[in-house]
Amino acid sequence: MSHEQTDDNAGAVSPSESQQAAFSMQQHAQGHEDHEQRRAVPAVHGQSDDCIEMRRLHRFFGTTKAVQDISFSVKRGHVFGYIGPNGAGKTTSMRIMATLDLPSYGDVFIDGLSCVNDPELVRNRLGFMPDAFGTYRDVNCREYLDFFARAYGLAGAERTRRLAWVLGFTGTEGMANKPIRGLSKGMKQRLCLGRTLIHDPAVLILDEPAAGLDPRARIDLRRMIRDLANQGKTVLISSHILTELAEMCDSVGIIEQGKLLATGTVEEIEQQQVATSELTLRILDRAEQASTVLKDLPLVSNLLCDGDLVRFEFSGDTREQAELLAMLIRKDFAVAECTAHRKSLEDVFLQVTEGLVQ
């Protein structure tokens, strides 16, 4: 007769588990030792197709709540941008994903495997590139990559093949025999990406990979990340350069003070967060009169008339915007130009976050 308790049936955290979790956390705050055993993260294994799944992640450092109840998922082959100001909790949550730290509560699943309970299985599937280079003295690029290939258990011809592929992909073949300490920042970053890719991981976690790179190096990096995504790799990338993330990411998550404020594609977040869009119309001859007409409309606000330019905030969707233009034309206003200001990721970021730092 087996006395073992099974823990592999729970596909998701059930309400009772959530309640227990909340209870356990409260007990943790009180510090009751016996309850600490119950506080342990439930060893559930994700059944979904998401390659990265963060589930109710919490990480406390004393009274500082570095990560508070973050949940999101990333589909296989997608690039996910992780955005937030300094001290928002990005690196902390990425370190938990990389099995380098333990959450106070919650779990992260990589390819359905728990980062808390099965870190060694997760590590085989994961490539982590921290913000620091982590290079060795008196070692050249080939030796450095060879060492990490060996450390991941690659042997013989397989190691040689991976080494050649990585050197080719990252464009570091030319400097394979050069000492690492003599490399430029851009080349070091390429080498570190190579190290991350050496064991052919399914998931890549890149912490600020573009920091301090020149424009060309950034473009190259962007191209490489898109190539990797096209090869089916799931990439989670954090960066401060928001315009770049917008171009390469399929979806983004905005985090501030340890909380996930918004998640989805840039357009989705824009729609979630931005109730109004800014419209500029060039109306020939009777701009003043048109502005009087527009002022009375309920969807229009903050109207400003400057010569033949009429600027206002419009809180309708694109169909209502088209109807508005049709109405003006029906009323014989000569609408020569209409510009809808599209909010950039930077605008969305600024709107979503408040610039608060813990």
């Binding site: 823990d7 510090g31 990389a98 495997l113 299985l121 008196d138 013989g156 064991h199």
Partner: protein, 562 residues
């Protein structure tokens, strides 16, 4: 016709080409063989060796070693002229070579191993290694193996010089071998100590303090071994001393030193292991191994008539001091562990009743730690009593009075230690309510408990006696320093010892009462998905091996038949 007969020059050039191609193929084969061999090696050893051979430190040390050895050979030889032809002149030459070799082996290499592991932490590369397939044990052993390899290189360089010194007569073969074995053994032990200290502190101040400690220890080792080496070379390795004595001494080195090294390496590896994994059980096994080997050493000593007569007390004191220090530190840290057992660790917990009864005390947790420490200390104390009884049969050095004193002293020590550990258990339990302290805090807590329990009654009674001298009274029962001292002085304190032994037992039972879960099965099943993944990984490794051997076969066929 002439064109059909090859000219002499063309024959020789063909032979050269064939020889070159054979040489080339030979080198290729050697290269392939080295590559295959290196696949089975620890990656850290390969990386460290590559790094070390290119490092400035190695080049400077190696060059200096060669230069100084050569200089000493010339200067020493000329200074011993012309007596060198007629009288045995090896001792001064050998002593010189010893110091030339001891400097890199006892100082440079252990310090390099320390710096290497420290730099991994400092530069953030340890984190990169933590997410590879390498285990913390592999990292530590790789560093140790690399240090040993460097030692071997230095050793090989100086070997001809030592052989030269040996031919000068005056130092016999057993002495030369003993000297070299001692040096290698000490070098390896000091490297282990250095590796143990390297990950101990993560802060800059702490690292500087650790560096100073390790430098101090290395200089002390250099000095002590230097004196020992001088004696050895001057007086020779005395084979005429009792076989028993030499044997027990060697047995001590062979048994206790590796066990101690194993404990230190386990501790170093545990400091590199992520928090979610079980770090405690390995340490407990290592402690058990050290205790068992020390007990075996003592048992061997007590079984030897000659040794029991001559060295019984010394042996007991050496083993006793080591084990008291080890168990004071280990016990206080074991009772300070967190009671949280991660689901991952719970998968490997003992399951059956028998397994839980015997191995349950090796599982992580403060309550199991307390019971484990107390059982070990009681067993050790009983062994010491047995040892004294055993030496009596040889007419050993223990009179009935000293036997009684030593017995009472040891059991008093265990009783005080047990009570102290129970107190530390409750203090740490209190502290863990709102904090997550490191286990080292437990050692500090035990020190605080020790100081207060001794000073408080002493201070009170000193004050009540107007700061005049006063005799031992029952109020001083918690003053373990005075009680133990008075026992050694010949006073009978069996009442106090019994009282504290009883309190210790009550304390342990109370801790067990508070932790009823200890006796229940806590193991959780390994999820099916994980089992499948582990099976898949095993299969992949097998496939990779088969593929690799197929590839090797194909390469061999291609090499043989073109």
């Amino acid at each position: 016709m002439s064109s059909l007969v090859p000219s002499k020059s063309s024959v020789s050039s063909d032979e050269d080409t064939v020889a070159q191609s054979l040489r080339g193929r030979g080198m290729e084969k050697l290269d392939d063989w080295c590559g295959k061999w290196s696949d089975g090696c620890n990656p850290i050893l390969i990386k460290e060796t590559r790094q070390a051979l290119k490092s400035r430190q190695f080049i400077v040390t190696f060059s200096l070693l060669l230069f100084v050895a050569l200089s000493w050979t010339i200067i020493g030889t000329f200074s011993l002229m012309p007596a060198i032809y007629t009288t045995p002149s090896a001792p001064p030459m050998m002593l010189g070579y010893y110091f030339v070799l001891a400097l890199p082996m006892l100082l440079v290499v252990p310090l390099a191993a320390y710096r290497s592991l420290e730099c991994e932490i400092d530069d953030g590369t340890l984190e990169l290694l933590s997410i590879t397939s390498l285990s913390p044990w592999q990292i530590v052993l790789g560093k140790l193996a690399s240090a040993m390899l460097q030692m071997m290189l230095y050793f090989v360089v100086l070997f001809p010089c030592i052989a030269y010194a040996y031919t000068l007569r005056g130092v016999d073969f057993p002495t030369t071998v003993a000297l070299l074995v001692m040096l290698v053994f000490a070098g390896a032990m000091m490297t282990v100590v250095a590796l143990f200290f390297a990950p101990m502190s993560r802060s800059r101040t702490g690292r500087v303090a650790m560096l100073l400690v390790i430098i101090f220890l290395l200089f002390v080792a250099e000095w002590v071994l230097g004196l020992f080496a001088y004696d050895l070379i001057e007086y020779g390795f005395d084979l005429s001393i009792g076989f028993d004595e030499g044997w027990v001494f060697v047995a001590g080195l062979v048994l206790v030193c590796p066990a101690f090294a194993y404990l230190l390496l386990t501790l170093a590896a545990a400091q590199l292991t992520p928090a979610s994994e079980n770090r405690s059980t390995g340490i407990r096994w290592a402690l058990l191994f050290l205790t068992a080997t020390s007990a075996a050493w003592v048992a061997l000593g007590s079984n030897s008539e000659e040794f029991s007569r001559g060295f019984a007390e010394e042996l007991l004191y050496i083993a006793g001091v080591i084990l008291v220090i080890v168990w004071t530190l280990a016990g206080s840290m074991l009772v300070s562990e967190s009671a949280v057992v991660t689901p991952r660790v719970r998968r490997d917990l003992p399951q059956s009743f028998l397994a839980r009864a015997t191995l349950g005390w090796l599982t992580p947790g403060p309550a199991t730690g307390l019971v484990f420490s107390v059982i070990n200390m009681v067993v050790l104390a009983s062994l010491v009593s047995f040892f004294m009884f055993a030496t009596d049969q040889w007419g050993g050095g223990f009179s009935p009075r000293s036997s009684r004193i030593l017995n009472q002293f040891i059991f008093a020590l265990v009783a005080y230690q047990t009570c102290g550990l129970v107190l530390v258990y409750f203090l740490m339990r209190l502290l863990r309510r709102n904090n997550n302290p490191r286990v080292e805090v437990g050692a500090a807590a035990l020190a605080v408990v020790g100081v207060f329990s001794a000073l408080t009654p002493f201070g009170i009674e000193l004050y009540s006696n107007d700061f005049r001298q006063f005799p031992y009274s029952n109020l001083q029962a918690t003053n373990w320093v005075w009680t133990l001292y008075s026992i050694l002085d010949g006073d009978d304190r069996s009442g106090v010892v019994s009282c504290f032994a009883f309190l210790g037992v009550i304390g342990v039972v109370w801790v067990l009462y508070l932790n009823p879960m200890l006796v229940r099965p806590l193991r959780t099943a390994t999820p099916e998905r994980v089992k499948q993944e582990l099976e898949k990984a095993k299969l992949a490794r097998k496939k990779s091996r088969i593929r690799s051997s197929r590839q090797e076969l194909a390469d061999d066929i291609e090499n043989e038949f073109g």
